[in-house]
């Protein structure tokens, strides 16, 4: 185990270095660029065997990643915001062709207005694209989830994206424990795809035309694979615990078991919520946090069980689903539908376009829950 101070972007690049994918086609975009940059340095220094392809756009980046993966090797890429949006068409091709690509997504607002800062509109926009989605609080989680994501992806033959908050995580430094290179290699194992294009002894067509006669069945297979991904994710976490000591699951429960009220949130904001939970607990207030890691497939039953004892819960979304419940709160409400004495749900949208979130605001959210002040969607931090 090596302990180093590094940014979230460097943590992603270091995970990629240990995975040592054969092909990495990538196009720079803020705030993902330091991942590509750090990895390019590894390539230049001969620390990885990867072929890095400097493509002319993200559409090409994902196309080349799909091509390499279909050919039969490990292929990875990374992007943000408009880059992910430009990839869009091929993002679905990757999952439709059942290619276990792992992509680091550094969350950034989508245009317009043009904005380089963090919110989750980019990755939430493609939540129905049949990719496994894992959200990370810190650089440490980014590193760990890259390895776990690869393992799950290759097992169920679905691509996976690992998210981290733009600038907050990607450019913020923290301590990251890296596994010993050999142990990491052992964990991910050799990649031996069942079918691949360069298998000349067993030729195969990948990504054929299928109309009303076959597409439904092919999409149903993806849905079944997603169900399997849930099981495989837990299995991979268990195995990962043995080599790292880190205990991951669908979500992290922070002071949740005996809490009266709680917040549900994704990515880096969980860190600030933990601070507030600690300070409020000192004052005897029973507040807690559920930090969700696995968003796709969504662990409905497990979330319901973890939240069912609460009086109320505030779900904090860092993106809108315009005209509907925001992406996270909608899923939490779904989870709680069958709970007989279900907690009240307060929907909060915050941090859009990188708007800062402060401890006092989180404290107010908790106080409102404790005082049973629950109502319409709160646009936390937005000027009225």
């Amino acid at each position: 185990m090596i302990r180093k101070v590094m940014t979230g972007a460097a943590a992603a690049a270091n995970a990629m270095k240990q995975i040592n994918p054969e092909v990495v086609p990538v196009y720079p975009i803020t705030p993902q660029t330091p991942i590509a940059m750090t990895f390019a340095q590894f390539v230049a220094d001969g620390e990885v065997d990867s072929e890095m392809i400097r493509v002319e756009s993200e559409h090409s980046a994902m196309s080349a990643t799909v091509g390499a993966s279909a050919a039969g090797v490990r292929a990875m890429t990374a992007t943000s915001s408009a880059g992910l949006a430009l990839m869009w068409e091929i993002v679905g091709v990757a999952s439709g062709c059942r290619l276990p690509i792992v992509m680091n997504v550094v969350n950034r607002a989508l245009s317009s207005p043009i904005n380089i800062h963090c919110d989750h509109s980019d990755s939430m926009g493609c939540r129905d694209h049949s990719w496994i989605q894992i959200y990370s609080e810190s650089g440490q989680e980014v590193y760990d989830f890259n390895l776990i994501a690869l393992k799950v992806a290759e097992k169920v033959k679905l691509p996976a994206m690992v998210m981290q908050d733009g600038f907050i995580t990607s450019h913020g430094s923290g301590i990251v424990e890296l596994l010993d290179k050999k142990i990491a290699k052992q964990f991910i194992g050799e990649y031996t795809p069942e079918h691949y294009l360069l298998d000349v002894d067993n030729p195969i067509t990948i990504g054929p035309l299928a109309l009303a006669d076959f597409t439904f069945e092919i999409k149903r297979q993806q849905e079944e694979a997603m169900k399997l991904a849930k099981k495989e994710f837990l299995k991979a976490c268990k195995e990962y615990k043995k080599i790292s000591g880190k205990n991951y699951g669908f979500f992290e429960e922070y002071e949740l078991k005996d809490a009266d009220v709680a917040i549900v949130v994704l990515n880096s904001t969980a860190g600030i919520v933990k601070e507030v939970v600690d300070s409020m607990r000192e004052k005897g207030k029973k507040v807690g946090l559920l930090k969700l890691n696995l968003y796709r497939p969504f662990p409905y039953a497990e979330v319901a069980e973890a939240l069912s004892h609460l009086k109320s819960v505030a779900v904090m979304d860092r993106s809108y689903s315009y005209g509907a419940d925001a992406p996270l709160v909608g899923e939490i409400k779904n989870s709680l539908f069958d709970v007989p004495k279900r907690p009240k749900v307060q929907s909060i949208v915050f941090g859009i376009g990188g708007r800062n979130i402060y401890e006092e605001q989180i404290e107010e959210v908790f106080e409102n829950l404790l005082n049973k002040k629950i109502g319409d969607v709160i646009h936390l931090g937005c000027r009225e």
């Binding site: 439709g96 062709c97 059942r98 290619l99 033959k157 079918h195 030729p203 195969i204 067509t205 990948i206 990504g207 054929p208 299928a210 006669d213 076959f214 597409t215 439904f216 069945e217 092919i218 149903r220 297979q221 079944e224 694979a225």
Partner: protein, 105 residues
């Protein structure tokens, strides 16, 4: 052996992502797409084999293996889509494209 997916197959039976084994195109008679039919004049033909090389669907059949004596024969109408490339490349103009409506078969 080539397994051809059939519309009777359930989702568990099909390969992931709609992958298919090689050779399945034999089972799909793309000739039904044709609007114009290539009509070959055997008497004019010099058997240069340019059309057989250019046919994108490999459906101009040949007789014999020796390159010096190989003869072209009929077009395999089960697969010919009527693209007309054979007519375009023919140096002696022995292929004519005729509307399918002129035929009764």
């Amino acid at each position: 052996m080539t397994k051809v997916p059939t519309p009777a197959d359930g989702y568990k039976k099909l390969k992931e992502g709609g992958m298919v084994d090689p050779g399945t195109s034999k089972f799909f008679h793309t000739g039904t797409w044709r609007t114009f039919r290539p009509v070959w004049d055997e008497k004019k033909c010099i058997h240069c084999q340019i059309c057989t090389a250019y046919c994108p669907d490999d459906c101009i059949l040949t007789k014999g293996k020796d390159p010096k004596t190989v003869k072209r024969t009929e077009t395999d109408m089960r697969y010919c889509k009527g693209c007309g490339i054979c007519k375009e490349v023919c140096p002696v103009k022995c292929i004519e494209m005729k509307p399918e409506s002129e035929f009764n078969d």
